[in-house]
Symmetry: C2
Subunit: 235 residues, 2 copies
DNA sequence: CGAGGCGTTGAATGGCCTCAACGATGGTGG
DNA sequence: CCACCATCGTTGAGGCCATTCAACGCCTCG
């Protein structure tokens, strides 16, 4: 797997799943202690640098990935060269599920920030699933979460004026965070998420900064005026 | 269930799942003959008229639906009143899967044409799933299909100029059909699928008709000039 | 026959895209 | 160490394309 050697920035060795801090929230949450005996062995854990591609559309690997930290974008391309980011994957998200029912990945998965992932063979999931129906429930929940997310991107992020789309994206980025804070994405990525050009994304963000709806607290960490942005997103 | 009485246009009685013509392509494809003994009982089969709502966003029913014929649109609404069609369900598609992992439907499901469905309790699927792991595989395939579809709508139908979006929608509608034929949707629905206004959808379709890329063979049955439309969609 | 829904078309506006330029930043190599 | 280059965010100008608001014909249905 030459590619995996090159894309690995840091290899942390085999994972210690039993004591994984994410254990209660990841795919294997429902498993018994004894189950872990059989799985941590083939699980690799490593980090990749921003811009690194974890897998490409059409690749026929047999791995699923759980995001431990950082962010990945899932990208699809059009025949005319256009591209669209169809989802973001963050901590606890599982990507590559399509491998369980097909033979190839359906997106390019590209790290936006420095990102840590666990990688495990789909075969592990298939085998564990036979003994643990709970795992199926967990898988269905994952799929449904991805589907809800996809629907929301259509409804919220691909509908209405650029101003509203940007506002909704910002609110969405801040939702998971503790305070009203969020890290901004590059203008190009924002454009590819919202279906607008890089320039329009830049102009809109710049305008929000001028109007102080967006205040830079730390480098690339912004405080949002959530009520105002919400008003824009709904008006 | 007063609502179900009102929305039922034609009730065909309990379904004969064992001899269902869709049997090889629907959710229960992998089941043994004996399994059918236990399921056809609670399965209802009926037809609904165009414009009828099968279920609403937020409803807490416990039913899944398989489409036997016709077309349904799955609709989501924005706080500002905007609406977006996020998927179309046609023959053999299953809708309402979200009920299996949540407590409420996530769309409005509205018939576009006269539509026949089979309705069965989610509980049937849960119970059968315990004995038949195959059913899980089938479910995962359904979810993945819906997800791929959602991604494609983002990438193909919500990206680029109105001209290209309309062309891609037409090609997509014709894909499943035998010849290069397809039934057109109302301009309003096309707009809600593509994220454009009704007028723009109308203008674009009218232009394609004038250029003979669309020829009406029968009432609302159109022959497509697929190569030309493909050229438009990719240029 | 009237009402309402739907598709179409026109005119005018405005918002987004395109193409272009520029400053700031950060990494690279001399 | 610094000059150089590439990348990124920003901003401007101009033009196109989609929206908005409006009107009209056709059709179905009551």
């Amino acid at each position: 797997m030459a590619k995996n050697i090159t894309l690995r920035e840091a290899w942390s060795g085999e994972a210690d799943c039993l004591h994984c801090p994410l254990r209660t929230s990841v795919l294997f949450a429902g498993l018994e202690e004894e189950d872990f005996e059989s799985i941590h062995d083939p699980i690799d854990q490593f980090a990749i640098a921003p811009g690194t591609t974890l897998y490409h559309t059409g690749d026929s690997g047999d791995y699923l990935f759980t995001v431990r930290s950082g962010t990945l974008k899932l990208v699809q391309y059009l025949p005319d060269g256009g591209q669209r980011i169809v989802r973001l994957a963050r901590v606890t998200d599982v990507i590559g599920l399509e491998i369980l029912v097909g033979n190839h990945y359906e997106h390019d998965a590209i790290a936006i920030h420095r990102t840590e992932v666990c990688r495990y063979p789909a075969q592990v999931v298939r085998i564990l699933g036979r003994k643990n129906p709970k795992l199926y429930r967990e898988l269905m929940t994952r799929w449904q979460r991805a589907l809800s997310e996809a629907d929301a991107w259509l409804t919220e992020l691909s509908t209405g004026s650029a101003r509203r789309r940007v506002a909704r994206l910002l609110l969405r980025l801040a939702r998971d965070q503790t305070n009203g804070e969020c890290e901004l994405l590059s203008r190009e990525d924002m454009g590819a998420i919202l279906g607008i050009t890089t320039e329009t994304a830049s102009r809109t963000v710049a305008e929000y900064k001028r109007r102080r709806l967006l205040v830079e607290a730390d480098p690339n960490l912004f405080l949002l005026d959530i009520p105002s942005l919400r008003r824009i997103s709904e008006s």
